[in-house]
Amino acid sequence: MPLANPSIHHKIHQNGLALIEVLLSLGLSSVMFLVLFTAQSYSQKVIVYSQQLHYANRLLDRVAHQVWAYPKHYDFLLSTASPASVICLYGGYCNPVAMAQAWGAHWQAEMERKLPNGQLGVFCDSGCISGDTLYIRLTWQQSLAITTDICQQGVACIDLKITL
């Protein structure tokens, strides 16, 4: 079959990406990664907060179990204990006041060790007598914590009320 136009001029133009296109792509990718990292960091913080809450709940449960053992000495749970009081929890004979102080010091130390600026609070409405309400409150620093009735922004707290 004869060719209509025997002379073929084949010219190939290959244009690469313009600098502006490359820069825009890079900028878009950067924004995308920034968003991903921000979301990831926030998620990580939420996990840490959840872990802290879980730990605090378990500690609160232990505290609630222990306070029952010293029904007349709640006031001493947060009074200053001597460093030697730790022996009360590991084999030593102690009177109820010393034992309550030792537990208070133990929990406080545990809160400080495990949670940032962790604080333990034990208090009653009035006098810690029968019929009164005992509050056990754990607080610690946590940027994700929102304002509640009992705690301000940035401070996480959980509490337990026990009717005496």
Partner: protein, 209 residues
């Protein structure tokens, strides 16, 4: 096939390869893009593993505590008869009868075993790194614990009020995690597990009003 005699075919294709500069710049750009992508993937993977371990360890701790408390709920007769730092013997109800049971830590199988009187040891709680019992006793009958000791015998003139169970559990974790020691757990490199505490206090019975 018929071909005209005057046929002139002019076909010119110019193929230029990449210059060295282009190759270097392309490789640099690819590396620049790949670096954050790789870092992100690694970070996401780490994040996923971390979440898995946290959820597993939390649920494992809750289940272990619930399992022990449920098993020790129905005491009868003398209740806790004796105990050491790593064993505890008690009498609990079994099919309507009071039956002695022994619980002990088995270091080789990393488990807490249970044995019914006259029976054999059977695994009760798996993935246990260590267990320590402290017995809160009242020796002067004033209804308050005055000593936390490592052993207990019901024949002694003391009332057992509480048992502190200091339990450490093992949660299998991927080697890729390698998070070392955090405030709430310790990474055990040889066995690829994280060791985390699940301490709790068991109120044996309400001895006093």
């Amino acid at each position: 096939m018929h071909r005209p005699k005057n046929y002139a075919l002019t076909f010119s294709v110019k193929q230029h390869g990449f210059t060295l500069l282009e190759v270097v710049l392309s490789a640099g750009l690819a590396a620049f893009i790949m670096m954050p992508i790789t870092a992100s993937l690694l970070h996401f993977n780490q994040h996923k593993l971390l979440v898995q371990v946290i959820v597993q360890s939390q649920s494992q701790a809750q289940l272990a505590v619930a399992q022990l408390l449920a098993d020790w709920r129905n005491l009868c007769s003398a209740g806790v008869t004796s105990g050491t730092a790593q064993t505890i013997d008690l009498i609990r109800q079994y099919q309507g009868r009071c039956m002695p049971y022994s619980y002990a830590y088995n270091i080789t199988s990393h488990s807490l075993t249970r044995r019914k009187f006259g029976g054999r040891n059977s695994g009760f709680l798996a993935q246990v790194e260590s267990v320590d019992f402290y017995y809160g006793v009242d020796s002067d009958k004033d209804c308050q614990i005055d000593q936390w000791r490592r052993s207990y015998q019901s024949s002694e003139r003391t009332d057992l009020h509480q048992v502190r169970v200091m339990l450490q559990l093992r949660t299998p974790a991927s080697r890729q995690l390698r998070i070392g020691k955090t405030i709430l757990w310790v990474w055990h490199e040889e066995d690829d597990v994280v060791i985390h505490p699940a301490d709790f206090t068991w109120r044996v019975l309400d001895v006093c009003p």
